[in-house]
Amino acid sequence: MHPESDDIYLMAQIARQDDHALHTLYQQYGTAVYSLAYRVLQNTTLAEEATQDTFLKIWQQKTTWDPAKGALKSWLLTIAHHTAIDRLRREARQPATHPEAIEDVEAFGTLRPETWQDDILLRSLIQHIPAEQATLIELAFFGGLSHSEIAERTALPLGTIKTRLRSGLRKLRELWLETSNHH
């Protein structure tokens, strides 16, 4: 965990186009950014390109960090997430999860078990969220799909998608608050 003062100094140096500062930023957060890009894109070449694009956006100061609004890492990963989703849409690639009709909850939940087992937060919470809701959250968050795109992908009515997603997200928030209160 980096002190905020270090992050503020680092970003100030990047604003002055200090190569060494960018190198430091990459050393500290490159793996986190690449990992998220890879999670979304499921392709090493695209993940590399999205990672490079993310750091170049910061280098070129196309967006600036406000320490008052959150940690540097969260801001950086938000940019990386949006960059990767934009790339995903541009490449018109399918998300790694390819759910068929959601009929058998157990079968649906095992369509891509390694995805959930890899995500630390979701691994602990997923057991308490119905599998069909959890997969919809993945399609929306890591797949960047809209309600209608999810409905098309899953062959479920749009209303059902909206209801299940909201329920799943509310359940996720409840579990998150319970987990946070215990720490």
Binding site: T51, F141, S146
Partner: protein, 252 residues
């Protein structure tokens, strides 16, 4: 009219939309409605913060995968700025200008000759970017249609670089390489254009004893449709896909 009841009802409706809004799932009308009401709905704001914290955790909580070592060097190469030209005293400026023009003409005659040789080999009409110029100079037209990129070295501390030029929507491009080391016998430099997992051969690049070379290439679809260009070392007999020995690599 009970304004407090109306406000509560409105806020209840906004709270219902918060999960969708937080995950970018609201339509434009819903988005505008949420954003207009947030400042007056503390519960909605509090839930939005919770969802943002959840999203931060989801992004940070993905399985950690080490990026390939080449990524950092590519990133740092992409940030290299061109060096600023030094300004000469005014009294020497005219000499420098005359020298530069002479050098440019000589160089252009050389490259125009090379391009003519390459054009003949390619057996196509003179490329669009040269056009029907009245003089024999190869003119770098300063038009909005001209595209050019620098392909930086894929590894630091090498002098290799390449420049790729083409007209918008053209299938013909010119590559100029400099600082390339000699290639071992049986191998050659090769240009590739890539996008996602696809790659397209642009042809072999030959460099002279000074590490300079040029390639005029004509591909099956507009260069603008591709996203990256790289030069690799390949067997002289040809390769089906780019090797890992990347000399220069740049985004188009």
């Amino acid at each position: 009219m009970n304004r407090n009841l109306d406000r509560t009802t409105d806020c209840d409706a906004i709270v219902e939309l918060i999960p969708d809004y937080a995950f970018g799932l609201t339509d434009p009308a819903e988005t505008a409605r949420v954003e207009a009401a947030l400042s007056a709905c503390p519960e909605a704001t509090a839930q939005l913060i919770d969802f943002q914290n959840i999203q931060n955790a989801m992004r940070a909580g993905v399985a950690q995968v080490e990026p390939p070592p080449r990524l950092e060097s590519r990133l740092m190469a992409a940030t290299q700025k061109p060096t600023e030209p030094r300004r000469l005293p005014v009294r020497w400026a005219w000499l420098a200008t005359a020298g530069a023009v002479a050098a440019l003409l000589l160089t252009n005659f050389y490259w125009f000759g090379r391009i003519n040789d390459l054009t003949a080999r390619l057996n196509t009409p003179t490329p669009q970017i040269i056009g029907n110029q009245p003089s024999n100079a190869f003119v770098l037209a300063n038009t909005s249609d001209l595209r050019w990129v620098r392909l930086p070295p894929s590894q630091q501390n090498t002098g290799a670089a390449a420049f790729l030029m083409w007209n918008a929507e053209s299938k013909i491009g010119i590559l100029y390489a400099t600082g390339f080391p000699p290639v071992v016998a049986g191998m050659t430099y090769h240009l590739w254009l890539t996008r996602a997992s696809e790659f397209l051969s642009g042809g072999d690049l030959t460099v002279d004893a000074n590490g300079k070379g040029a390639l005029l290439f004509n591909i099956q679809e507009p260069i603008d449709k591709w996203t990256w260009a790289r030069i690799t070392v390949e067997p002289i007999d040809g390769s089906k896909k780019p090797s890992e020995m990347v000399i220069v690599n740049g985004k188009l």
